[in-house]
Symmetry: none
Subunit: 318 residues, 2 copies
DNA sequence: AAAAATAGTTGACAAAGTCAAATAAATTAG
DNA sequence: CTAATTTATTTGACTTTGTCAACTATTTTT
């Protein structure tokens, strides 16, 4: 352990002492409630785990099984939670919050939020940003992975100022990082967006943005070209949020919209190296109808056009 | 409490849960020692306070007087500490570590250091630095010390993929928020970027990006139109980072570059509502040379052209 | 000199957490 | 198919940790 490391260690230890106090301060309201810290964490985890059993809580919270057992018993007596014995495995009991339990937790959450609000509200806006970014940095570094939690992702289809810029940013950044496209690609995306705006109409065109923590992490759009023909465009996902079904969710939203709007033909343009996206397109029924070479973006690529025919009257059948 | 704040609160709460676990992990070695966490903190504080009494420890550690009294008694029995009654005030007892106590604490410290070393040793050097910087940021913010924000901002003039997208994002977002421009403005910025890329040349064109926490929070660019004439474009600052001289820094960089490149005339286009920016432009010597009306972006605006003449041979005089 | 305040101590207690043994259901080995 | 083993949870007995109020000793205030 060299002296540089010792320096880091000292700073980290000081931070730990400091943050222990902050956490203590924030948890004080819990001491004033009828619940212990462990109990609140149990309530919280029951709410946030999809399937919750005592076993899982023991692992997650590193709590003593006997201790937990009694907490659960007390919660059940107070009808904050109820238990359902698993039909497949009689040893397991699934835990659920009752309405009363949800209510109680929600009040505790509100208190907790207030405490944190008090802590940060007096900070100038840019310091808030710095603090939050710093926390993300620490968390990412120590957990070894970018944070991704699917439940925190929201999808909205309203187009807001700044959205298309961010969309271009994502395209420029990740096509360069992953496919080695050059800067001309980002310029090309700018042009497609500009052209779109010249004909933009909320009645025929639609964007969807997936957001996590208030930041756009994915997008897709449908642009109408005629009453029956539309184009699917700008389908992209931040790499940290792939593989969790989010791409399919966006794609399905887009196709559903086409059906509802009565578009009979949807086409899209992509390049042959977008293997995963192409698989997803084909899964929902897109077929390749044309291809040609493109060298504009620093690599030799095959640009491909895919088309999806939507059966007329599909809406009626639903 | 608005939704932006709620987002911050969620991130902070997640960080708190996460860091509670980290702290728990780090404290585990203490559980394996013969001391409780409170006891270790008492030992630590006796060592680190110049003059230590029970009273001070009670205030510092927010520990129960009775509880502390017993801890001190035990420590004295184990001859980890010794007490000296104050000659001025017989109610006070000054607390000191014995050699044995110092030794014990030092071993505990070593354990603690090792734990932290394990935590950070597997991180790449860059991450270690950013973790430590982030911790300092959080600590400063919460302890009321203002964050020296300008120290955390870096300016780079290299154009990277994703940059112009983010630049468009900033324009779309903040011109809408602050000047009520409509979405067409963002489309217009896309077009200006696209046009620029069609003639982009690193020898004549240059971008500067101000970054805080790895995120772009400001930009400016110089685009050459001929050997002697250039345009200043895309000057924008995230509102949270205004008023700290950053705008002038960027503007000066841009003008300096023009001088170095031998541009004799620099012009820029803006709108009459950009009062603060215009003042900055005029401060460095820009003069209004033309104006005309523009209604494209949802408001009646006066578009203005400013021009700066750079004296020939200015470089020589330096 | 009496009353009030302060620093620390003590006893009685409650809350939080631990450990090992017990129970009940599932899985595996023979 | 039964016995042995494993797994999820529970229970009893216990320790540790932390709290509260009453107490002593000393100093400060009135």
């Amino acid at each position: 352990m060299n002296s540089r490391n010792m320096n880091l260690i000292h700073i980290i230890r000081r931070f730990n002492r400091f943050y222990t106090n902050i956490l203590g301060l924030l948890d004080k309201h819990i001491y004033e409630s009828e619940f212990s810290l462990a109990e609140v964490r149990v309530l919280y985890d029951i709410e946030h785990m999809e399937v919750c059993t005592a076993k899982k809580l023991i692992e997650e919270l590193k709590i003593d099984p006997g201790y937990l057992s009694r907490i659960i018993k007390r919660f059940e007596n107070d009808s904050l939670i109820y238990r359902v014995q698993s039909p497949e495995d009689g040893r397991l009991y699934y835990l659920f919050l009752t309405d009363k339990g949800k209510n109680t937790l929600s009040k505790l959450n509100d208190l907790s939020n207030d405490q944190i609000y008090n802590l940060i509200s007096r900070l100038p806006e840019r310091d808030k940003m710095s603090v939050v970014e710093s926390m993300k940095t620490v968390e990412n570094a120590f957990s070894g992975k970018p944070i991704k939690i699917k439940e925190k992702i929201t999808i909205r289809s309203e187009l807001r100022p700044g959205d298309v810029g961010y969309l271009i940013h994502l395209h420029g950044r990740f096509y360069a990082e992953e496919c080695k496209y050059n800067y001309m690609f980002e310029g090309y995306v700018c042009k497609t967006i500009f052209d779109m705006f010249n004909n933009y109409n909320v009645e025929k065109d639609r964007f969807w943005f997936a957001e996590a923590n208030g930041e756009i992490i994915g997008s897709i759009a449908i642009i109408g070209h005629s009453a029956t023909r539309a184009q699917l465009r700008w389908f992209i996902l931040h790499p940290s949020f792939r593989g969790i079904g989010l791409g399919n969710t966006l794609l399905n939203e887009a196709v559903k919209y086409c059906q509802e709007k009565g578009y009979e033909q949807v086409f899209l343009e992509t390049t042959d190296d977008q293997k995963i996206a192409i698989k997803m397109y084909m899964n929902v029924g897109f077929k390749k109808v044309a291809e040609h070479e493109n060298k504009e973006w620093g690599r030799k690529l095959i640009e491909q056009t895919y088309e999806l025919s939507l059966p007329l009257g599909n809406m009626v059948s639903n």
